[in-house]
Symmetry: C2
Subunit: 331 residues, 2 copies
């Protein structure tokens, strides 16, 4: 920058002025400066700028599983919105491990990110820490218990209830659920929604029809195997996330249980492969990209907050039922 100033025969303050564009600079000097920049192949140093300004224009995003398309679609939405506002995203993966999460947050904080988007590893993620550090943050998808601050999530309870009701409406009575991890909010809320719909229809929730698949492929696979082996197997299964549905479908194929003829399946989360599976999967979809955009939008609002900023609390999104070929009335 000094070199540019010298070559253009001006002070570095003037160079800075044309860079930021906030101060008026005469057309002549501006021209000379821009040419000097080109001649020297000068590029401003964002690090120095960050130090001076106290903000980095980077936000951190913490995700339990980068290989799950649900989270990457969310990220895509968030990144789009960030880019639109001149911000960059630093991504951290936690594998759902609280200690990795802790380290990743430290790293993000050390890098002085302007804010953090966070889907927590477990319901007891200590968000007070973020508050104490005075860094803006927004939770998405997986929220800590009792958290009242800014967050975006699906109305998981309503979604699960609707999925279950759809099965009931088809005529099913023996309905099983492969529930997700009860250590994170979506896992809990979806099981609640299932119970709610069953009770509303005066249907019993039998223990043997409630399995826990831990949101993993293998969990879904094992749970399905157990369900299929039951003396009186269910005629329909509600699987609480994409990965477990994968395991479930595999188990059914292996055990030669025709879907939907012998057993209907409704999955949670909707993805590219959902519609391309055979049978094409009926699912409860989430507006992932929109949720990602919204979360980032809320975070940026918080970062640029003015005097009269009030926390928007938790924003709930609605799910969307995609009826395809894996569900049918029971025989």
């Amino acid at each position: 920058m000094r070199d540019v100033a010298r070559l253009a025969g001006v002070s570095i303050a003037t160079v800075s002025a044309v860079l930021t564009g906030k101060k008026p600079v005469s057309a002549e000097l501006r021209g000379r400066i821009e040419e000097a920049m080109r001649a020297l192949d000068y590029h401003p140093d964002h690090v120095a700028r960050s130090l001076k300004m106290g903000s980095t224009n980077v936000v951190g995003m913490v995700i339990p599983d980068v290989t799950n398309p649900f989270f990457t679609e969310l990220m895509q939405g968030a990144e789009e919105e960030a880019r639109r506002c001149g911000m960059s995203v630093m991504l951290s993966n936690t594998d759902g491990d609280a200690s990795i999460e802790h380290r990743q947050l430290n790293t993000l904080l050390a890098h002085r990110v302007d804010g953090i988007l966070l889907s927590c590893a477990d319901s007891f993620t200590p968000w007070e820490r973020l508050e104490r550090r005075k860094v803006p943050f927004v939770f998405f998808d997986r929220l800590p218990v009792g958290f009242q601050g800014a967050a975006v999530a699906l109305d998981n309870r309503a979604a699960a209830s609707e999925a279950t009701s759809y099965l009931i409406g088809l005529g099913h009575r023996r309905i099983a659920i492969i529930a997700g991890s009860q250590k994170v909010s979506p896992g809990i809320a979806r099981l609640e929604g299932f119970r709610e719909a069953m009770e509303a229809a005066h249907l019993p929730v039998r223990t043997q029809y409630v399995r826990y698949g831990d949101f993993s492929i293998d969990g879904g696979y094992q749970s399905a195997l157990e369900l299929i082996a039951l003396p009186s197997p269910p005629t329909a299964i509600f699987s609480c996330n994409n990965k477990m549905t994968l395991g479930l479908m595999r188990a059914m194929a292996e055990q030669k249980v025709p879907c939907p003829d012998a057993m209907s399946v409704i999955g949670f989360d909707d993805f590219e492969w959902s519609a391309n599976f055979s049978p094409r999967l009926t699912t409860m979809g989430q507006p992932t990209r929109a949720m990602g955009r919204k979360a980032m939008e809320m975070l940026l609002d918080q970062i640029n907050r003015t005097e009269d900023y009030v926390s928007p609390g938790t924003i709930m999104f609605d799910s969307q039922l995609n009826v395809r070929d894996s569900t049918a009335p029971p025989k």
Copy 2:
């Protein structure tokens, strides 16, 4: 930091010394300083450190499509390796668009990342620019034409050849390929490998059996539809990536073409859903995580290069054939 120094009754240089750990500090002062840090809830500012040191401990990773599990698995490998070495990853998505790629690179460069991992949007990505800026970089998966520098990639030609040979070995003669985009290196190399294997077996490569699916689901779907509608359809199809395979399977299910009975399918890339599809998919898999780790390792080597650093050139990985249920001898 000044506050910590004051509270501990030492100079900031001493505080810095305990922080970096490079200089010896007496146990007593160290204790006092650490306590002061805790008391003040002090956290070092990485931005200031970066400015002073001239390095940020951040590397940029540029990816064409975050929602493709192939790239996210690569990223997982890269991130693991980076974390092991105390580095963080800043992720950029380009959607395979050269102009977005250009902007993302600028952002990364402005943030003074220590290095860049890059899978290019098209074969003519101007990597001279990176060279001019003197930032270490390593290409992965998609390489520019004629690039001789550090890179990691699958031996796509050999992999495609092996996949095709497997089909030939099964007894197939009418073999089609759904090729990927010919604007990026893997798309080109895989088509070459296919041709190579066909010629080696003295089999004709008929124009009508060569379709281009652009690495997208819809491309795979359309190509498959055309292939199925042929007067003399192929008895086996080689699909050049995961997304196109999805579209292909969907088309076959819709058109009621039984797989593998009427048509065998071998896909490229192996994923969670490959083994859980029905039929379970035969695939050519890539060691994605290992490739990600290796790319990052090469980048870090380059960042910490010494006098006698020599570019390792392009490192080729071998693919792995996963024989499952979507391939069988022709009827």
